[in-house]
Symmetry: C2
Subunit: 191 residues, 2 copies
Amino acid sequence: MTTTASTAPIRNGIDTAQVYGTLDALKAQPAAARFEFRVRNHWIDGPHSRSTIQGFWGAGAEDDSRTEPFIVDASEPPVLFGHNEAPNPAEYLLHALAGCLTLTIVNVAAARKVELYEVTSTLTGVLDARGAAGIDDSYRNGFERIDVAFSIRGDAGPEKLQEIVERAKARSVVYDMVTNGVPVAVTADVS
Amino acid sequence: MTTTASTAPIRNGIDTAQVYGTLDALKAQPAAARFEFRVRNHWIDGPHSRSTIQGFWGAGAEDDSRTEPFIVDASEPPVLFGHNEAPNPAEYLLHALAGCLTLTIVNVAAARKVELYEVTSTLTGVLDARGAAGIDDSYRNGFERIDVAFSIRGDAGPEKLQEIVERAKARSVVYDMVTNGVPVAVTADVS
């Protein structure tokens, strides 16, 4: 893979030569496209738990680029029986969606030779707790809907920037999962 | 709301008197059941972005219990064009699912007078990157499936502990969203 500044620069912090090289590698070696991400979690107390995130399988090998694990907690505010030790799980789902749509916008813009100056977003999710509380099954447990409001500044016109947002929606890993759902298999070893 | 130690103790770190009081309040005042959670995110560089999480609406008021915001980053490892500044969005989705299933198990166990000693879990999500890369549309962008393996120790028998896991699946906010999907509306102010 050769980086040629004139044709494949760093754009929006993305090494576009690496992106093109990766796409070629995925086409040549489809087995490299398999990724397996993992999270280990343990309960601490009340609604408070802690995840450890480090290794994953991808690009044909077990990744060893993370010399230290990421430690990420989740809990609840007092009104939901916790002590604000960390954001709650529903907020982390919004964070996952924000992060994925944003990086996909940035990647798509880089590929389309658009320089971005600013990408900010506000995400809101609304739910009626009578669902999760088991009081009224006419309400679902989770968010009824999620609203995502982006503000984007870049060196392309409004139409091209809107196209980039549409392309990001069509390619975002987490947007796909949150909008379409994923089969989840839960097993429990109990004693 | 009165705490009576003999009938409504702190169990698994959950104040069960508060839980019962909250359920009564939700039945008496359904408007209190509306929750709106929010995340603000801004792009930093490449796939790296940062979320700020603080206020939310719930229990009939804007919550002010968090005196400082939570700051949570997301990024990617080098193989996905980042620099390991933070876990990636797909890993955060697994973390959200782990945290929510775990706290729901803990809440359900507390309500059923089961004391838990240990709750650990390992979550794995598998995807083929040819989907998100736009190389082959026969692969979806997100995880094909998620496997969640719990290990649970408590003072109840295996059958009761398995029932608690099943009830948690039926009541978890994030499990509902991840398995069933949520409508997401994306708007962009561009210039």
